[in-house]
Symmetry: C3
Subunit: 209 residues, 3 copies
């Protein structure tokens, strides 16, 4: 019982930090393009809830943000934070990076489990986990008229995919679900942290069009 | 009974003018980028029905344009109008602006009411009203490879949001629904007209990326 | 019975070739923008399954690629093909063009029939056929930060629309469904082949913004 409470509190804290960091990322990219407050908010929302919304629409369920206002409140807080503390944002870069990594790992696993709960096979769940963690950033880049950063920079979405495969392996091997969640969470974080620390990227595709 | 008829006729007339103006906006932007007739039509359709389609997909209902051909017929008429009267379009700019404003107000309130009818809370409805009125223009700009204009120019989507909040306030204060509809319709129109007349924009976000 | 088997085998072969060619198109465009392997795969997937996914979401059914892994396996194969045979891709341009044309025709008709099976009227089905065949390429161009090629180049999506209208005409005229399928399939292929051979484009829209 106590364990359950610790887990769910931890989940909520990480989810909030992750959503906050995702929203901050959208709003800061919008600021770099001189968007107005509304444009910044939309970009923040896009990163924070975009991936999960695409997942839920494809799963045929009500988008998660329509059932609880916490995600929008979190984005509003991120917006106010960016407006008030604009000049201190850069100094906090390590914190944003850390929260973003936690968010990526958590959203991946949340997407994975929701898809399995809907009765879909594991390979669909792995894709949905990856979409939950990464599609928001792609929508942000499309709205900003940029080339999506995750298609060219350090490993990001692939950490989701590997984490999803690991989760699958653990569950298939008979590990209990909590254990599989914690381990694949740590694997995703580790891959992302190592990728950025050592500038590890996937190979670039060769060839003229 | 008579009142009902006047209301519904007025609704249909404004809806047609709004859809027409939205479609014209998509087709003209496409013309500025030298799109062909098909590309122009797709951009016209995107503005005219894009926002409502995103709303309906998130609400889990059949997209509205699939239940009545009037929206596509209206876009076809807009397309023919642009092709035949290309040289007179600019002189009608005041008319387009007026119809577009009527459309923004009407689509916002239509989106608001449909969301409430689906059983969602008011804060979801306000967001859906804003999406219904504004998302089409964002899709147009994405298809044209432009930065979405509503993130940088005069107040547009915020007029929807304020109108939605007003509607909420009126209904909560016990006003009857018809009255709340008319008043928030007028508020949205007034905000948009004043924003353009006096070049009122939201503050720009500060900060390097 | 034998006829049925031949038809369904033919359908599967053409579907595989079409999906393969669609995926190749996405991956090659991604390579031209120096995307990494993950970015290339996402662009390949976007072209191969994007149109059908939009269709299925609007129809309110589970996206087709979630019910069978063949489409993703096909995209993985296309990805490996591009990586291994990068230098030979250009020499096979005629094959890609042919497979792409077969895919356009097949996906159009598959989209058309699925929409009718869902109980929608013919004009909705024609639009859905066009979306199934063409929307994937638009998503690819949006992800690559390009202006969508089908809005400016040779006739592509209009071949779908004409094929859909032809199918409608044949069925209305009392032709049996198999016959209508084959004829409209050939019409779409013929329009696309002639459009590219003789550089036939739709008229360009005139006018400043």
């Amino acid at each position: 019982m106590d364990d359950q409470l610790i887990y769910s509190t931890l989940f909520n804290v990480i989810e909030f930090l992750g959503t906050f960091a995702f929203a901050i990322s959208g709003i800061r990219h919008a600021a770099a393009k001189h968007f107005d407050w509304f444009g910044g908010f939309v970009c923040g929302v896009a990163v924070a809830i975009g991936g999960g919304t695409i997942r839920d629409v494809m799963l045929g369920v009500t988008p998660f943000w329509m059932t609880s206002s916490v995600y929008l409140v979190c984005t509003v807080m991120a917006q106010m934070f960016v407006i008030v503390f604009a000049r201190y944002l850069k100094r906090l870069d390590n914190a944003w990076f850390l929260f973003d990594t936690l968010g990526l790992a958590l959203f991946t696993i949340a997407g994975l489990q929701k898809t399995i709960d809907c009765g879909h096979p594991f390979w669909v769940a792995i894709i949905m986990g990856c979409i939950t963690g990464s599609a928001g950033g792609v929508i942000r880049d499309v709205l900003l008229n940029n080339v999506p950063v995750i298609f060219q920079k350090e490993i990001y979405a692939m950490a989701s995919v590997v984490g999803g495969l690991a989760y699958w392996g653990f569950v298939t091997a008979g590990l209990n679900v909590s254990m599989a969640v914690v381990l694949s969470f740590l694997i995703i974080c580790a891959i992302r942290l190592l990728a950025v620390k050592y500038h590890i990227s996937l190979p670039i595709l060769k060839g003229e069009e």
